[in-house]
Amino acid sequence: MRVNRRTFLQSTAAIAAAGMFSSSAWAEDPINVASIHDLSGGLDIYGKPMVDALTLAIEEANAAGGLLGRQVKLINYDTQSNMQLYTQFAQQAALKDKVAVVHGGITSASREVIRPVLDKFKTLYFYNTQYEGGVCDRNQFDTGVTPAQTVEKLVPHAMKKWGKKVYVVAADYNYGQITSQWVKKYVTENGGEVSSIDFFPLDVTNFGPTISKIQAAKPDFVWSALVGGAHISFYRQWAAAGMRKSIPMASTTFAVGNEHIVLSPDECNGMLICYNYFQDLKNPVNESFVASFHKRFGTDYPNITELAMGTYQGFRLWAEAVKKAGSVDRMKVIEALETGISIDAPSGKVTIDPPTHHCVLDVHIAEVADKKLKVLEDFAQQKPADTAAVCDLIKNPTDNQQYVIKI
């Protein structure tokens, strides 16, 4: 082949262009997304489904071409149900891995551990768990339901069905303490009475004296805000004492850790719960979501939990905001989210409520029936009214605290 000036220039230009193209492709690093969840230890019943849902959401985003033309990379931290590791991993995610966003925290205690760390190092934070409400922090978005969305609906439903006298048993940390106050507030407002609130450290397994006390108090129903593997023995001992048939139960935490599958139907049938998501919701988005979830993780996957869906929706909301902002820059994404971004999710329409950074979403009351959760009643587009009563991040963008209900 004869090389003249023209062909030489053409070929070298092509090589140079190819080189430039490939070097620019190398420069497009993936977007790092941190997942900080307990994948071992006592809280892994909650953490595993959350991480699975996040994995699926990221794989879907990457299959659709990534975000802003970049792939999304999931960086997984297992906090092993240990609070110290939350601080350590939050710092590592923010400083070493320089992630665009952190999804994580399960218990309210763990959230309050990582929230200040991520505030300090200016890293966007999504907390995707249903919780007691009241967190007001411009750096944080909360995709889980709060008491004004669930307890407010479930209390009158249960009181109409069973009666006015309620006995509350709750886990002894900020979630149980605050949630039980919300239960008391709504029970009182509906003309009922809370006869007692008992708190249990997370490792208590002997509920005998409490069960006797509940019988002595003769409530119309029991409200459970118990958390974690050890507390499952409450339901077991309750049923063993023959109480399930005489005093019914409602809960803000039951089934979130698939307790309804761990326990036999004889130990928990008939219990009432209220959440944003149930695997059996009938809508096309959910049906295709469940199908792809089962394709990814196997059809024998026990149950897609409320917390898993919160995490999936949390990532989708963030991804939507990134597209809108055209950037993963923290402030640009926060501002995009504050326009009131909305997604069509498996649980229905989910919209960010700009003043509170919580979500407007559908909730449903369901009943435990033979290891399934049977949806009884639907409430469309519930606002986070509890947090909205105290928190307005549009007026006070520098507000940064968790408001606690006062009764």
């Binding site: 006592g42 490792d203 004296p209 409490t210 019988q215 050890a230 023995s233 063993a240 004492a241 023959g242």
Partner: protein
């Protein structure tokens, strides 16, 4: 009145479950001076043994009362032969070794069974006391504890095995000179202690469920009971269980479970301050 009866049953149950979870430790610690920090894991293994056996179609009673003690007893003998026997008289070293063993067993069971709580429904249903209902299984646990303590008493007091065991624990060299083989006695005693722990873990499994780290919930209470009881194995365990069990249960009933635990620990601290040798250091000194 009904409530008083119910409360009395609850108190008896608390005493029985404390005695059950402590007696294996009391034998291993009291007789052999081995601080077995893997005691909680022996209880946990008993629970898993019962649940696995039940899920393979074995009757729950056989699983709890036969399979679990045999399995954990054999594990105990293996542990004694491979680890503990090299460390007699070296208290700190045994603590380290058994602590490592405890971590190993937690890791192993997590790898095999996962970290979720498993359990079996308590059999026997419930019964009525006036206006109250309680689980009939509670009475079963009380019965098991009473039978276990009675059997230990009979074996220790009136059999040749008990005599040899007590003799070896008092003075191993003398026993050896009289023709007893102390290593064999140690192995058997350790195995028996482990078997009793396995039995306790299995009997309590339907009440509390089983997960790999449940041993932690048991081990502190067992040690407090054994130390509070003092040197005499049987009367020490019984008296300390009776004291701590009733304090814990009554305080829990009157206030909350948090204060129930606080009351138990406070009672233990006061007791050890007043009676550094445990209850049997001052009372029932001639007991077993």
């Amino acid at each position: 009145m009904d409530l008083a009866v119910l409360l009395a049953i609850q108190v008896l149950y608390a005493i029985a479950s404390l005695a059950l979870i402590s007696v294996g430790l009391a034998i291993i610690f009291g007789m052999m001076r081995v601080i077995n920090l893997a005691h909680g894991e022996f209880l946990m293994l008993g629970g898993y043994a019962a649940i696995v056996a039940t899920s393979h179609g074995i009757s729950i009673w056989i699983a709890m009362l036969v399979v679990a003690p045999i399995v954990v007893g054999l594990i105990g003998v293996v542990v004694e032969r491979t680890i503990i026997r090299f460390l007699y008289g070296r208290m700190i070293d045994t603590m380290l070794a058994t602590w490592g063993l405890s971590l190993f067993l937690v890791g192993l069971t997590t790898a095999i069974f996962g970290n979720t709580t498993v359990g079996i429904s308590a059999p026997l249903g419930s019964f009525q006391i006036g206006a109250y209902r309680t689980s009939a299984y509670t009475l079963f646990v009380i019965t098991v504890a009473a039978v276990v303590l009675a059997v230990i008493f009979v074996v220790m007091r009136w059999t040749r095995l008990g005599l040899i065991a007590r003799g070896t624990m008092q003075n191993a060299n003398m026993a050896s000179a009289l023709g007893v083989n102390p290593p064999r006695v140690y192995a058997i005693t350790f195995g028996l202690g482990a078997a009793l722990s396995g039995l306790a873990g299995a009997v309590l499994a339907p009440v509390s469920g089983v997960f790999p780290t449940i041993g932690v919930a048991y081990v502190a209470k067992s040690f407090i009971t054994v130390i509070g009881g003092g040197a005499a194995i049987l009367s020490g365990t019984v008296s300390a269980s009776a004291l701590f069990g009733s304090i814990n249960q009554i305080a829990t009933f009157v206030t909350t479970p948090v204060f129930g635990e606080v009351a138990l620990l406070a009672a233990a601290i006061i007791l050890i301050r007043l009676l550094p040798q445990g209850i049997t250091g001052r009372f029932f000194r001639r007991g077993l």
